[in-house]
Structures are given as C-alpha cells and as structure tokens.
Symmetry: C2
Subunit: 521 residues, 2 copies
C-alpha cells in the first residue's frame, strides 16, 4: 500500500534537478522520506517522480486505507475504534494501548487516530490545551486561572528569581541530560506487531529505561497539556511510516528524539516535573503504570500551571510588561522568519551539493580521465608522467564529487536540525504570548467588573497578582530561550564552520596532491 | 543597430539559470558577447533575453543592414563592393583596404565580405585552399603536386630529420616568440573610421611593429593558403563587432591574438616562413607593402608546399605509413571528442560558478547576517560576541560568493582557452589527413596508370617519392603536435590546479578566520 501525501502549496520544479512540480490540493504518492535535506521523493498521478520539499507535503494516510484499520488486527479485542469506553477497557487489561501506529505489522497501518486513542487512554475530560498537535487549539481562556482557586498542593511551586537579565527560572545545580541508545526491534502479539524500543539513560541515575516512540508521544502530550500555555513544548520528530525499520531511518529518528529529549532536559521546569522524571527514572512496569495514571489525572494543567509560579519579587508594572510582550512578539516573529530563510537556503544548498554539483565534478573528473586515455592511445613515447598525472587529477575530481555529496550530512545537517528545532520552538510562542495577552486584557477590565459588582475588590487584587505571576513566567521563559539560543547558535555555527573549513581544506590538500604529480616546467 | 545572430542548433534553457531557449534557424539579437565562459546574452523576437551557448549562434549581420554598406562611407571611392577591379584600384591608391570590417564607424558595419576583399586584395586566381574560413574547402587535388613540376627555387626547402620519435621538423636553435601589447585606438578618414592597433615585438629583433586585426587576418589567410594542406593553421579569434572598443573586449582579443601568435611562433615551419617573418619584422610601410605583394604572389601554396619537403632518410614504407595515418586519424578524432567534452563541462561549470553558486553563497551569507540582526533586536544583554561573529560569518559567505564568481576567470579561463585552441588545431587535421589519403590513393593507382600509358615509369617513381615526402611531413607534424600537446596540457593543468588549490585554500582560510570569532565553548 502506497503512502499518500497532500500537497499544501504549489511547487515548481527546477528542471534537471530531479524535482517534481506539484499543485496545492494535489495528492501524491510518497516513495522515499529518507532522502534528507528536507526533500521527499514523490510520484504524481501521471506517474512522474521527483523531489518535493518536505514542508510542502502533508504526509498522511495510506492509499485505499481510509484511515481505517483492516486486516489481521481487525479481530483483536480493540476493534471498536470509536468507543472510548472500549478503548479504556483495553488499556486496563493491558496497561498499554493495544493499537499501535508505531507498528508495521502485516495488517497495515493505523492512521492518525492516536487522538482518539489518547482521549481513550486518559479517559477523562481534561483541561487540555490541545488534544491534537496541530493546530494548537486555544483551550480554556486564561480567566480560568485568573479567577479560579489555586490548587491546594504547593509542593510543586515554581520559583522565579530576578537575575541580571531580569526574571529567571530556578536552575538545578546539576543539569539533567540523557542518552538515547541501542534501538531494538521488538514485537508483540506473537510477532504480528513490531516496533522499535530505545534505551534512555538519564545522567542522574545512569539507569537505562526503555521506551517506544509512542511513549515519547505520550510524554509530549502530557507536557503540552501541562506546560503548553507557558513554555514552548516543541513537536516530536514526525511519526513516519515508510522505511521505519531501515537503519538510516532509525538512526535519524533516534538522533531527533535525542535532540528533543536534551532540549526538554535542559528546561528547568520541564526536567524537574513529575511526569518527565517518571519517564526517565521509573523502576518497573508497576511504577510506570501508576505514574502514568497519576500524570493523566493531573489537574494543574493549561493556564492553571501559572498558579504554581512563585516570584521572589514585587508585582510587575503592567505597562512595562506590555511593552516587553510586544518586543517578544516582534522578536519571535522576526527570528521565525530568519530561521525559515536559513532553512530554505539550506535546503536548496543541500540539494545542489548532493545533486548537480557532484555530478559536475564527476563530469570534470571524467573529462580529464578520458583525455588521459586518449593521450595514452597516441603511442607517443615518454608522456607517462602527463597521462598518469592527468588520470590522477581526474580521479581527484571524482573524489571531490564524493566529498561534496557527503558534506551536507556533516555540516548542513546540524545547521538545519538546530534551525528546525528553533522553528518548532518559535512556533509555540504566538500561543504563549496570546495567553498572556488575553489575561492582560481581562485584568484591564477588572475595574469595570468591580463596578458592575461581578467581582470583588479582593478578586481584582488577586487577578493583578496572578497576571504578574504570568508575566514573571513569560519573562523567565524568554530569558531561558535567549540564553539557550545564544548557546545553541554559538555551538552550531562553530560546528558548521569547523566542518566547512575541513571540507575546503581537504579539497585544497587533495588538489595539491594532484598538482605535485605534474612535471614542473 | 542591433547585431543579429542565426541559431545553428536547438538549445533548451535550464530555467532559473538565465538561459534562453532557441530553435535552429531562429534569428536573435546579440546583446552581449563579453559575458565569458562560452555564453552570449541574446534576445529573441518575443523580447525574452538570456544566455545562449556561443557555439549555437552564428553571429552575423546587423539588423536592417542586409550586409550592405550604408551611411557615411557610401560616398567613399570604395562604394562598389562587387567589383574586384575597383577594390584592387583602391588597394593600389592606398596600400590598405579602404573598407574595414574591423571598424565601428558611424556608417555601421560592413559584414562578412572580406572574402571579396581578399579576392580583390590579392587580385589573382590563386591555388587557395580556402577563401573562406568555414567550411574548409577541398581546393585542388593533391595530384596537382604529385604530377606537377616542383618549383625551381629551392632556397625555401624544409628539411625533415629522423629523431627518436620518428620524423621531426628542423627546429631553430633560438625559439621565436613575440609579445603583443599596447592596444591603441586609432582612426583614419578624419575620424570616421576607427580601429585598434596592436604593438607586436618579436623576441628576435625586439623591435615593435604595429598591426590591426585585419592584418592578422591577412596573415592567417596567407598561412592557410600556403600551409593548410600540411599544417594545422587554427582560426583567428572570431571577429567581433559589439563592444569592440570596450576595455574587457580589447584585453580578451589581445590575449587570444597573443595565444595564436605564440602558437604560430612555436611552429618551426610557419615561424621561419617569409610571410610570417615579414609580418613580425617589416621595417617600414614600403617593405610591408612589397612583402605583402610578394606573399600574395607566392605559387608554392596548397599541396605544392610538399615540394619543399626534404627528408633526410629513405622513402617510407607505404603500408606502415597508412597504418600510422589511421592511428593519427583515430587519435585526432578521439582527442577532438575529449577536448569538446572538457569544453562542454567547463562551460557548464563556468555558468554554475558565475550564476547559481555565488547567488546561493550570497543567500547563505545574507541569512546569517539577517539572523544576527534579529538577535541584536532581542536586546538580550551580552550576546555581542555571537552577533558580531554571526555577522562576520555572513560577510565571509558573501565574500566567498565573490571569490567563486571571479574564480573561472582565474582557472577555467585558461583551461578553456587552451582546449579551445586545441579544438581549432584538431579541426584542421581531418583535411590534412584527407589530403595525404587522397595522394596515397592516387599513388596506388600508379601501376594502372603506367599500364594505361597515362604516366611513365619515371612519373610513378616520382609520385612515390613525393608521397613519401608528404608522409614525412605528416609524421613530422604529428610529432610536433604531440610534443606541443604534452607541453601545453602539462602547463595548463598545473596552472588550473594551482589556481584551484589557491581557491579552496583561500576559502578554507577565510572560514577559519570567521570561526575564530565565535566563543570557544
């Protein structure tokens, strides 16, 4: 069964570059999602094949499958996909979702319905920001928090300090990190379903825990639900169906999960949260299951999370806060544009470096080698030095072609991955800023509400205090973002430039070697 | 008036690469012939503009001009272009052709009719190989030589020795060369006609002589007439009309004339010939004019030139000669293919290096600089090191774009020029080999001709001897070609690789500089 994708935007192929022109709304068949550099190999309905930029496609369902779940698995107890009750029952029996889109069993692919599945799994109407990853739904208004009673349990309070740069989170003295390794193909249901299990070792315990992609996805949903109003929780690497058990894909997926986990570990609020700690340090199946149930019942989610914020300093000036929010909003928008521009040019460059450029170096190399072969055929005595050198020069250009083609994996790759991560983070800020802005607007109405007798003066005071907490949170988060940004871009630019230096130096050295083979005149 | 060109072959543009699709037979307007890399900027009848490969166009007449000579010059005494007599009369009056296609006067351009002009100038029905540069017309059959009486004057005999590699020409102990310099715009007819005059200093006399392009063309015609059956006399650089007085064009033209003259100087037969010596060493206008007249009256031209060959060794074995000819034929054909392949890939590479590649480096540079500007706008304290470094990295990629765009002028240029020269030389060999083959076939018939009583036994002996002289000449010329080829390719490959090493090293060094600006983590 072919994996289909819907075309999101018109794309005009550059001829001779193995690209495929597609029109918005068109449906194409995905042939290869592992070509790299932000490209997908696709086939249109006329049978033409070529590369299309990843971002232009919404990779989705399997042809003829209509998102339903056919075949071998249809006879399992989980067949009724529309019933949350039934789903919850399965959960109770098994402690796991029985269905598994992370699965490439004979029965085929079960599409996008982990939304149902999540709903069924948590089994309660929660204050979710979003049940679905896109688009980010608004969820409850921030007034839920502004006017609600704060939760009784204050064990989880989140202190905000005022540092040199303004409000900052409390950072643990030992930063957390983890290492994802050793991906193993596992199976269940007598081999009918198979999946990849990763081993994750946190630096705190050094004790590895095992998780499948869908556990990461569960964690993502919990973090989004709990912190999504206040902190950017970037998307996980796309779930992907084709080639899911290919070595390259597994390596790439693991690398992306590692990047995601490292970013979460680096966040002082996320990394210290119960649900994140559970994910990294559960001791046995029992602890995992009870922890899961507890996390799914957490009430301090969405804007209610702000009730945990405990700033050390006085309430913030509303006008100044508004100005800052404006600055954050402009900054994140500009950075989003800048990052996308870099991603665009990076993707083009990737394609040039892996397509036409090495092809041309190969042609140059072949032209030199051919000329050398012609010279040899002249039978003119004493030109071995020239023909040997000319062959070597040709060989060198063929080697350069190979180096050029491999280079993007060594430098552009990390530049694009990092910018891809930042694109994800930046995509979360409009929502975070909007939540803050909505609360701020509400508080501006407080006087009117008091006059109208709808809230008390105490309520108004309380609202002011809670908005101030939200502002502290936003500023602490922006400062966290900035310091991470500086670290990350410093690191990735160094890595990129180091690799680029090595690249050009290697070519210069190779050519110097080829040059020495010619007779000095 | 726009310069028109006829399209010789279909050419399909690669979109996004500033190319123009053209169809065979179509007429386009030439906008710029100085773009380099084998490309011409042209405009089609729909007004679309773009680059077309030089070789696909026959640049010709001026629009609306119909090859006639209108305007200011129509009133000069040379108005009747169809009359050789009148033309010859002008020659007598003036010692120069009064007409001048090397001229960009107000009157406009006098097209391709230097054929008439030459005919008029030399004023006699000569044994010309070709009056026209393309295609190379067969001229008289080699039997003219095989059966003709050799000329009485043996002062100009051309000895052939047998060296280690076989028959070789006699090389003068001091190799000749010349330096072309100091191109000056001169005018005549009270400024109505202007042209470029070059100063040519031979290494023998070190006394500069002045020549215009049309004198080079006259020399070319004489050399082709005299030696074209035996030696490759490559075409002069194309005459070119647009931009003829632009500094870049003059530099390029001079460089190409220099290459052509150097090659002619390096040829022991050509360089020692009276006409070549006249061109380089005439003392005054009088000597030049009388020398010209003498050269134009030279009878030992075309295949008759072989009568001057004086081999030191015995007659060559016909079968062995035939085998060698076959080898030469195959070799020159293969080398022609190899050279054209290299020219093709070189031209593509030129276009990539001057078009899309620097554009992409500029985009990368701009993306880094933009991101740096965004970072600065964050107002987050203490990130000057990062933003400065990021700006510098962006600047570096913009500089790399410039280096990349300039590079082809430094390396590909000479590689292409040398291969272009060889393409020209190799294009002469089929004719030279065909002349030899025709003679060889004729000699095979000798027995039959003797039996038929059409030639005597002495004639047959004489024919054998003369064919042997031709064979010596061909072999000496092939050996000359090979030794030059080895020298030239050794030189040009070294030059190319040296420049390529410098290029990559320069980029590596620049990037290393950019890297040091980042904070070490």
């Amino acid at each position: 069964m072919a994996l289909k994708a819907e075309v999101l935007y018109d794309f005009t192929a550059e001829p001779g570059n193995n690209e495929l022109s597609v029109r918005q709304g068109e449906s194409v068949t995905v042939l290869d999602q592992t070509v790299g550099g932000g490209w997908i190999q696709a086939q249109n309905s006329s049978g033409q094949t070529g590369l299309v930029p990843e971002g232009y496609l919404q990779v989705g369902n399997r042809d003829g499958d209509s998102w339903s779940r056919p075949g071998a698995l249809a006879s399992t107890p989980t067949a009724g996909w529309d019933s949350h009750t039934q789903q919850a029952a399965v959960e109770d029996n098994d402690g796991e979702w029985d269905d598994d889109w992370d699965d490439q069993s004979e029965g085929g692919y079960h599409g996008d319905d982990q939304v149902d599945e999540e709903g069924g799994a948590s089994g309660r109407p929660s204050v979710k920001i979003s049940l679905n990853k896109f688009p980010f739904s608004k969820g409850p208004s921030p007034e839920v928090f502004l006017l609600a009673k704060p939760p009784a349990n204050t064990r989880d309070l989140l202190p905000v300090y005022v540092g040199e740069v303004g409000p900052v989170w409390f950072y643990p003295s030992t930063p957390l990190d983890c290492l994802i390794a050793d991906p193993k193909k596992e199976s269940k249901l007598y081999g009918l379903k198979s999946f990849i299990e990763y081993q994750i070792s946190p630096t705190t315990t050094n004790r590895p825990v095992n998780h499948r992609y869908k556990h990461f996805d569960w964690l993502y949903e919990r973090l989004l639900e709990k912190f999504g109003s206040a902190l950017p929780i970037p998307l996980l690497p796309d779930k992907q169906v084709t080639g899911r058990f290919q070595v390259d894909f597994i390596r790439m997926r693991m690398e992306q999960l590692q990047a995601w986990m490292t970013r979460m570990c680096r966040h002082p609020i996320v990394s210290q949260s119960d649900v994140f700690q559970l994910f990294l340090t559960y001791r046995d199946e029992k602890e995992w299951k009870s922890g899961k149930r507890k996390a799914e019942k957490d009430e301090t989610v969405g804007p209610m999370m702000f009730s945990l914020i405990e700033p050390e300093a006085a309430e913030l000036d509303a006008a100044e806060v508004e100005q800052r929010c404006e600055l954050y909003s402009r900054f994140t928008k500009s950075m989003d544009d800048g990052v996308k521009e870099l991603l665009n040019v990076g993707h083009s460059h990737w394609k040039r470096c892996t397509g036409p450029l090495p092809k041309e170096y190969n042609r140059i190399g072949r032209a030199f080698k051919n000329l050398s072969a012609v010279f040899i055929s002249s039978k003119y005595p004493g030109e071995e030095t020239l023909t040997d050198a000319l062959t070597a020069a040709g060989q060198t250009y063929e080697e350069i072609a190979e180096i050029v083609a491999q280079q993007p994996q060594k430098d552009l790759h990390f530049l694009l991955e990092t910018n891809g991560e930042y694109k994800g983070l930046l995509g979360c800020f409009p929502e975070i800023i909007a939540v803050h802005k909505a609360a701020s607007e509400k508080v501006k109405e407080a006087d009117r509400l008091v006059s109208a007798g709808r809230i008390s003066n105490n309520d108004k005071k309380s609202m002011n205090h809670r908005l101030s907490c939200m502002s502290y949170s936003l500023q602490a988060e922006m400062n966290h973002f900035h310091s991470n940004r500086i670290y990350d871009y410093n690191r990735v630019m160094q890595l990129y430039l180091e690799q680029q230096v090595t690249f050009y130096q290697q070519i210069a050295d190779k050519l110097r070697g080829a040059l020495t083979q010619f007779t000095t005149l």
